[in-house]
Structure formats: C-alpha cells, structure tokens
C-alpha cells in the first residue's frame, strides 16, 4: 500500500537524529538570545535618544525616526551601547591590540584571572580544611559556621578596602590582596558544600567502617571525601564565579591600573560606556569559561569514579 507510507519525520530535515537533537537544544537558546538582543537594541535607541534630541534641538533641526535609530546606535558615549558596539569593543580589546598593551582585554583579563585562580585555590583549600574540621570537631562545628555565615553578610565592597589597607601596611600589594578578597568570597560555598558532602554517608556506611575498626583517617579518606566529591564540584562552580567577582572588586578601591576591574573603573571615569560593557562581557566570558572547565573536570572525575551514569 503506497498511500500508507508515512512522510519522513520532521527531524530528518535536520539530517541525522543526533543532529536533530542538537538543533532542538540550540533552538531555544538562540531564541532567547535573539529576544535579548532585540530588546537591547530597542532599549539602546530609547535610552540614547535623549542625547540625539538635545543635539538636534541645539542645532535647530528635526530628526526623522531613521536618523534617530542610526544616531542612537552609533554614539561615542552612549548611555547604553548597542550590542554591535560592545561586540566591536570586545573584539578590538581581545584581538585588535598587542597582548601586552594596556588597552588589551587579554592583558587585563589575565591580571584578573591570575588573582582569581590564586584566590580560588586559597578559598578552596581553606574551605575544605574548615569543612573537615567542622565535621570532626564538635567545638569547630559550633563555632566556625556562624562566623563563616556572618563573614558573608558583610558587603564585600565595604571590607575590600580594609583588606587592601591592612595588606599594604604589611608590604603586600597587587596580586596577594586581590586574591585574599577573592578567597574571602569563594571559601564560603566550598565550606557549605563540603560539610554537606562529608556528612552525606548514612549511618549504615559509617557502621560498616566501625565493624572494620577503621580509624577516623580511613573514614575520612575512604568514605567521607569520595562521597563529598559531587558536592565539591557543585560548590567549586559557585566558588570560582565568586572568586572572579572578588578579584574584580579587589581592583576597584585601589585605583588599580591593570585588571578588568581597573578597566571598569577607568571606563566610568571617562564615560567610556563601550569600554565598561566590553570589560563586563570579558569578565562574563572568563567566568563562563572557568565554570565550564570545572564542569569538564567534574564529568571526567565522576565518570572515572563510576558516579556519573
């Protein structure tokens, strides 16, 4: 019966089945992205129109809608730069400058990234150490957590200058104070996540090790730490993003000359909104890259441990 032959399923238009799946997963993302870009353009025209109208009024001319759109999307110091201006600024900052140039976003990005990574490392080690202490010592359990929570209620913008000042009096400048601020933000999610992870083994698993007369060290190394790894990775993703925020905030109060924070600061001094937005996007891209890197390590590690299926 020829008439009964079904037409090919719609997904075959996208080629193979896996190709269809990729299109299916990318399509919603692209739709949202497109909507954001469209809204952004609309907002740029609206927010920048004031300046265009002012200029026209001063010159005593009328502006048509076409001219308005054209002008608002190409101002030198717009209130809200258009997406393509930000993209151009980002492109120029990354690829248009020598890497060593003070105008290069690669240079500034690396300055911030190095402080982020050092801060993240300090925060992670400190976080794990505190978590192990909290799980093993009742006194620490009672005393450390409230302080850790209290520490996070202080606005980082308020405490960052204090840290810079104290560090400076100790003769430490540049990378270290920024890393400390970065670690200050990143240790907290690590502590919370690892404490939960170290406590995740149930009573039966702990009883089992008791029947082996296992030492506390064996319980930690063979049961608690491996069991906490899925929690660790979730915390690390939050922690690394917090580290980056910390590093950027650490660059603001010093009037630093290098780093994405410095780029933001000088942009705001001179009204270079395109520069600010380009630096913001550079920071976002660095953060996304770091989170993806941890996600990759997570997949490989948990896959090898047989924890990911």
């Amino acid at each position: 019966m020829r008439g009964a032959v079904c037409p090919p399923a719609p997904r075959e238009y996208f080629g193979t089945e896996s190709g269809g799946r990729v299109v299916k997963s990318v399509l919603p993302i692209l739709t949202v992205l497109l909507a954001i870009v469209a809204l952004w353009y609309g907002a740029a025209v609206w927010l920048n129109s004031t300046w265009t109208y002012d200029q026209a009024a001063r010159a005593g001319t009328e502006v048509s809608f076409g001219a308005l759109v054209k002008d608002t999307l190409a101002q030198e110091r717009p209130v809200l730069p258009a997406p393509h201006q930000v993209a151009a600024g980002l492109w120029d900052g990354v690829f248009g400058q020598a890497v060593s140039s003070k105008r290069s976003l690669v240079y500034h990005g690396w300055v911030t990234l190095s402080a982020t990574l050092l801060g993240f490392a300090i925060g992670t080690v400190l976080g794990i150490a505190l978590a192990v202490g909290i799980v093993h010592n009742r006194a620490m359990d009672m005393s450390v957590m409230p302080w850790a929570i209290a520490s996070q209620t202080i606005p980082i913008l308020a405490i960052a200058p204090m840290i810079i000042v104290v560090m400076n009096s100790l003769g430490l400048q540049g990378l270290i104070p920024k890393s400390i601020i970065s670690a200050y933000l990143s240790f907290f999610p690590v502590v919370v996540g690892i404490v939960k992870g170290l406590r995740s083994p149930d009573g039966m698993q702990l009883d089992l090790l008791r029947t082996y007369n296992a030492s506390a060290r064996d319980v930690l190394l063979k049961l608690r730490l491996p069991a906490s790894l899925p929690y660790l990775f979730a915390s690390l993703k939050v922690g690394v993003a917090a580290s980056l925020v910390g590093a950027i905030v650490g660059e603001l109060p010093t009037g630093a000359v290098a780093g994405l924070g410095a780029r933001l600061l000088s942009g705001s001094y001179y009204g270079q909104t395109v520069q600010i937005w380009a630096a913001l996007f550079a920071a976002a891209i660095v953060a996304a890259g770091l989170v993806m890197l941890i996600g990759w390590v997570e997949r490989v590690t948990l896959g090898r441990m047989g924890l990911a299926r």
Partner: protein, 266 residues
C-alpha cells in the same frame, strides 16, 4: 529453655544482657535479660516482629550498641574488644557498596583498612568472589549488578578478612522471593564450606527454619527471647526439604512461639 550451644565451644555468650534507650518519652527497653550461648559453627537465626530487639542484639554483639545490663562476650572477649580484633564480618540489610568503587574495590575496602599486602588483597578478592559465585564481576561497578548480586558482593566483602563470625541483619529482606531462595541455598553451601558461626536476623519463618541449626524467637515490649527452637533438620538441606513434614513442624513451632510472645496483642 534448652541452651545446647553450651556443648560446643562457645563463641558468643550473653548473660542477662539488656539495653534500655533513654528517650524523651522515658526509657525504652529494647532488650531485657537475654541469655544465650552460640557455639562454634552454629547457624542461629533471630526471628520476631519489629521492635523485638533482634537487630539490637546483633548490633550489641557487633559492639555497634552497648548493652546497659548483663555480660556479653564474643570469642571470650568483650564485644568491644572483639570488634577491635575484627572478630566478625557484618552484612547489612542494604548491600551498601561504594558506588565509586568496583566490586573488587569494594571487597578490597576492609583489606586496605586492615593492612593486607597488595598480593594478598588480590588473592583474597579472587577467592571470596568465587565463594559467592561472582567470578569475573570484579571490574564491574555496583550499579551494573542486580540487587541479589550486590548483596552477594557485600557478603563477599564481609568474608574477605576471614573473621570466624558472620553477623547478618536481614541481608535478603529487600530481595524478591525467587532470588532470596537461591541466595539462601548458596548461603547454606557457603556456611558448610567455611564453617563459620553465623548470627542471622530475619522476619521470614521459612528462611529461619531452612537456614538455622537453632531459631531464637523474640518478642517486643520489652524485647526478649521467648523461645529457642532446636532444628532437627540434617545439615545437608536441598530446597525441597521445605515440603517435608519435619520442616513444617518446626515452622509451626516457630509460629506458635511468635504468637505466644505476642500475648493478647494479636
């Protein structure tokens, strides 16, 4: 009450053992006046409704709980000393295998903790895998095995370090009846080959009768022993022995004992 375990070399001896938990609602007597001697090579089952203290007693033997009354010795030592001397292997209701370790890795866990050499670890892993009929599964991860196979792996883990005593707390309670029957049969063979002393908690009458040389019937509120039934079944027990007259008689006695223990509560 007969206590024939006394004629064998005693391995586990309880004299007036009691355990009272202090709770917000007042004391709960989980165990009272337990007197029992388990001899070497015996297979003793503990049966009773929930709350009768069968698991609590096993946990006391394992020194996972501490009795508040009486004397409990294991291998002539206190239960705590016996635990420190790694005198027993304990099998829990759930297999509790570490998902991040392979089956061989899970069996290696106690061997690592007890400091066996690498070569000896390997040799023991192979041997106990063969004992529970899991040869060739060492490199698999727990999730790749069925529930019954996981429980066999956990028994292998308890056997790996060659303790004389095997304590099993409803090890097959979560498995379906067909798998449970097969594992019961295998457990009997394993017991015959290894000559271990086994303490076995269950709430299944056929399981208790099929496996045991002695059945300890327990009762709740307060948790206590109400009857100890000597099995007259031969050591060699094919599965169809459960249709024999003798088997049914013993099962009947156990059921009577459980009913008597319940008093007017049922």
């Amino acid at each position: 009450m007969k206590d024939t375990g006394a004629s064998l070399t005693p391995v586990i001896e309880a004299r007036g053992v009691g355990l009272t938990f202090e709770t917000g609602d007042g004391p709960v007597r989980a165990l009272t006046d337990v007197n029992l001697t388990i001899g070497k090579g015996e297979f003793v089952s503990f049966i009773g409704p929930s709350g009768c203290g069968k698991t609590t007693f096993l946990r006391c033997v394992a020194a996972l709980e501490t009795p508040t009354a009486g004397v409990l010795t294991v291998n002539g030592m206190s239960a705590e000393e016996a635990r420190q001397a790694r005198a027993y292997g304990y099998v829990f209701q759930a297999a509790g295998l570490y998902p991040w370790r392979t089956i061989a890795g899970n069996i290696r866990l106690p061997l690592e903790i007890m400091g066996f050499s690498k070569a000896e670890q390997q040799e023991r892993i192979e041997r106990v895998l063969a004992l529970v009929d899991l040869q060739g599964f060492g490199k698999k991860y727990p999730w790749q095995l069925s529930g019954g196979m996981q429980q066999r792996a956990s028994i292998a883990r308890a056997l790996a370090f060659d303790a004389d005593i095997l304590l099993m707390d409803e090890p097959f309670g979560a498995l379906d009846e067909i798998v449970r029957d097969r594992l019961n049969e295998e457990l009997l063979k394993l017991w015959a080959r290894t000559e271990k002393t086994i303490g076995f908690v269950t709430h299944s009458i056929p399981e208790a009768v099929y496996l045991s040389t002695r059945i300890v019937v327990m009762s709740p509120r307060p948790g206590r022993i109400t009857d100890v039934i000597e099995s007259t079944l031969p050591r060699e027990r094919p599965l169809d022995i459960r249709d024999s007259r003798e088997f049914i008689e013993i099962a009947h006695r156990v059921r009577e004992g459980l009913r008597a223990g319940h008093g007017d509560e049922v």
